[in-house]
Each structure stands twice: as structure tokens, then as C-alpha cells.
């Protein structure tokens, strides 16, 4: 039984890894217009992938340049109010060439960001650093690929765990089918992450946040490894939001002891106390959330970067080693990194939840000993 399970897992991992690899490979080889061949083009392509995007791009046919993608709605807050339209109006342009006019505002898309042209301008101008001179960014509430990914993860979670919850409601105490996989995960988060760090008495209140964040991050990390090309947890805005949620939660649930120890540390000379308070406050408000958000962002970004670079070996080394050797090399290396990335996907979700609960545990802890 265990052997069967293990081999099924292994095959699933293998299939997932291979699938994503080919898909990344395809994406790289079928850049719209011209082929991606040189190192700079590959770098550009990877940088483009790491960013959020306004349409869901699958594939571009090489010769004809036809795009196979579906557009996502763009919702922007411009100087003239809220504007909504489909991203297909940009016609896959990402260099600020296609201008979409909505009422009296002119919008362009430049490096996956939407800019509004200043009044009177008819084309976008750049300075020597390729920064737009006559356009500014707008508040972009679009359903981008990342938002789409989040919604997808949310729906998956609601479906999966909703089914588990309904299974219990029917009076059956033992879950069936896929819920059987989910239940031990919930128990794992409760018993290995929340209880030891927050404490038996107070953990219940934070379970909603911890469980949601754990599965949200994990599912999004895994979605990032699929051929769909999501990079949600590699968006700094997403990780920043998650970290700020953690800060808000532990700041608002801090016990009296926590504040006493943070702001006026007992048992320390009076002169040192304000200094300590500043250090502690900065630690709790800035450093801890910053390390949380940077860790998740950097790990996922680095993972995507490494996987895509290794896949790109097939192209970059083709000249020196020939197509067979370079493809084989990139296949083996990226398969290896892909398996590690699957581990990292779990590990980062675990670490984020673990550290969140550790910080919450620090905040809600009540000291019995007065030292």
C-alpha cells in the first residue's frame, strides 16, 4: 500500500515536472513575432514571466504570430474615474505602442503595467533609462493573472475543504475520498504549527488565519509550478499583503505582558528601556514582516528563475553542444530543480505559517514569572 502510494506520488511529481518543463520550453521558443534565441531575449522572457500579466497567454504560433490566449478584464482607476475593458484591446502589446482610448484618457501597457498618457500626448516617450516621461502609472485593480490565480486557489480551497466539512456534517466521522488527504494536513497545521507555538489555550482563535494562509500559499506555490505559468507568490504585493495580515493580527492580539515587555522591559536599567522599546517595536513592525515577505517572494522568484534558466539551457547551449546534449542536460537539471521546487513550495508555506504562529505566540504569551 505504502509502496503504491509512494510510486503514485512519484509519478505525479514526475508528470507535473515534465509537463511544466515542456510548457516553459514552448513558451520560450514561441515568443510573439521573433524567436527567443539569445541570452538577452531569454532574460527578457524570464523577467516578463516573473511579472504579473493582464492576459492569460498559452502559446503563440511561431510563423503566423497568432496568439492562443484569453483576455482578462482590466479595471483601472484613472484620472477620469474607473475604466473597465478587456485586455484584448491592447492586442498583446507590451511596449506601450497600442493606445487604448477610454473617454478622454489614453492608456498604454508597458512591461505589464498600465500607464495613462498625460493630456495632449499621443505617443509614449522614454528617457535614456527607458522610463516613460509623459505617462504615469494608474491604480490597477484588474483581474490579472495573479488575481485569477488567487481566485482559482480560493475556489479550490472552498471546494476541497467545504467537501471535507460537509462530510463531517453528514454525521460520518471518517472522511472519504480526497478529503482523506486534506484532513491530516489540517491536523498537521493544528498540531505541529499552531499548538506548539501559540499554546493549547489560545490557538483556536488563530486557526482560521493560519490554515487559510498555509493552504493559500501552498496551492499558489504549486500552481506556479504547473504549466499555467502563474507566479502569484512571486509577486511582492501578494507576499507583502500576507505579511501585513500577520502583523495586524499579532499586533491586535498582543497581551498586556507582550506590550509591557515590548515597550517597558522590566528588569533592565531605566536608561536602556526606551532604546529597547524602539528596537523591539522596529523588530515587530518592520523587520519580522519584511523578512516574511522577502523570504516567500525571493524563494519563489528564485525558483522560477532557476527552472526557466535551466530550461533555456536547451537553447543557449545548442550551439556549443548540439541539440541532443543540450536538451538532455536541461531536461535532467530542470527535472532535478523542479522536484526541489515542489519541496520548496511546501516548505515556504510551512515556514510562513510557522513563523506567523511563532510571532502570534510571542504576542499572546502571558508570563507567569516576573523577572
Amino acid at each position: 500500500m505504502v509502496v503504491v502510494k509512494k510510486s503514485i506520488n512519484f509519478i505525479a511529481v514526475l508528470v507535473l515536472a515534465l509537463f511544466s518543463m515542456f510548457s516553459y520550453g514552448d513558451e520560450i521558443q514561441h515568443k510573439p513575432g521573433n524567436k527567443v534565441d539569445t541570452a538577452e531575449e531569454i532574460n527578457d522572457y524570464i523577467a516578463h514571466h516573473l511579472k504579473d500579466s493582464h492576459d492569460f497567454h498559452f502559446y503563440t504560433h511561431n510563423e503566423s504570430g497568432t496568439h492562443y490566449s484569453f483576455p482578462l478584464p482590466v479595471i483601472v482607476w484613472t484620472s477620469n474615474g474607473l475604466k473597465t475593458f478587456m485586455s484584448s484591446e491592447f492586442h498583446h502589446d507590451d511596449a506601450g505602442k497600442v493606445i487604448v482610448e477610454k473617454g478622454d484618457v489614453k492608456l498604454v501597457k508597458l512591461h505589464s503595467k498600465i500607464y495613462e498618457l498625460e493630456s495632449g500626448a499621443s505617443t509614449i516617450n522614454f528617457d535614456e533609462h527607458h522610463h516613460a516621461t509623459n505617462a504615469h502609472k494608474v491604480l490597477d485593480f484588474s483581474i490579472t493573472k495573479s488575481v485569477f490565480g488567487m481566485l482559482l486557489a480560493g475556489i479550490l480551497m472552498l471546494l476541497g475543504f467545504g467537501a471535507l466539512a460537509r462530510g463531517y456534517k453528514k454525521g460520518k466521522m471518517i472522511p472519504k475520498g480526497f478529503s482523506r488527504v486534506l484532513e491530516p494536513l489540517v491536523i498537521y497545521v493544528r498540531d505541529e504549527i499552531a499548538k506548539p507555538n501559540i499554546g493549547e489555550k489560545k490557538y483556536r482563535k488563530f486557526m482560521g488565519f493560519l490554515l487559510t494562509v498555509f493552504f493559500f500559499i501552498w496551492i499558489l506555490n504549486l500552481l506556479g509550478l504547473t504549466p499555467l505559468g502563474f507566479n502569484v507568490t512571486g509577486q511582492i504585493a501578494v507576499t507583502a499583503c500576507l505579511a501585513i495580515f500577520t502583523v495586524v493580527i499579532y499586533m491586535f492580539s498582543g497581551s498586556k505582558d507582550f506590550w509591557a515587555h515590548t515597550l517597558w522591559m522590566p528588569g533592565v536599567p531605566y536608561i536602556l528601556r526606551p532604546i529597547l522599546a524602539v528596537i523591539e517595536l522596529v523588530g515587530f513592525v518592520v523587520i519580522k514582516p519584511f523578512s516574511l515577505l522577502i523570504r516567500l517572494f525571493a524563494n519563489i522568484t528564485a525558483g522560477h528563475f532557476v527552472v526557466m534558466s535551466l530550461i533555456a539551457l536547451a537553447i543557449t547551449l545548442k550551439v556549443s553542444f548540439g541539440p541532443v546534449v543540450s536538451t538532455g542536460m536541461s531536461l535532467v537539471l530542470s527535472l532535478f530543480i523542479m522536484v526541489i521546487e515542489i519541496l520548496v513550495a511546501f516548505l515556504q508555506a510551512f515556514i510562513f505559517t510557522m513563523l506567523s504562529s511563532l510571532f502570534i505566540g510571542m504576542a499572546v504569551e502571558e508570563h507567569d514569572d516576573h523577572h
Partner: protein, 62 residues
């Protein structure tokens, strides 16, 4: 250029730190195999903190 040197220094420091953590954790597990779970969790947390530090420095220097 200086960025790259800085990044290299960060990676060296982080590598030494991670090596220390991992090595000591291994020693600990070898000495007390029954405490392996606890040691692993503590190791991962410390590793994560170190990682946060190193990534923070890398990002700030970028």
C-alpha cells in the same frame, strides 16, 4: 559590479551560517535520534530566519 561582490559576500555568509545550523542539527540528531523532530523544526525556523536576513540584504543591495 559592487552589487555582485556584495551578493557574493552575502551568499558566503549565509552559506557559512546554514552550514553551521545544518551541521550542528545533524550532530544533535546523531546524539539524540529521538529528538530529531524537534531539532528539525528548530533548524528550519533558524534557517528561515537566516534566509530572511540574507534575502533582505540581497534585495536591498539590488
Amino acid at each position: 559590479m559592487y552589487n555582485l561582490i556584495g551578493a557574493g559576500l552575502i551568499v558566503i555568509g549565509g552559506g557559512i551560517g546554514l552550514g553551521q545550523i545544518g551541521g550542528k542539527a545533524m550532530e544533535g540528531i546523531a546524539r539524540q535520534p529521538e529528538a530529531a523532530g524537534k531539532i528539525q523544526t528548530a533548524m528550519i525556523i533558524i534557517g528561515a530566519l537566516l534566509e530572511g536576513l540574507a534575502f533582505g540584504a540581497l534585495i536591498l543591495g539590488k
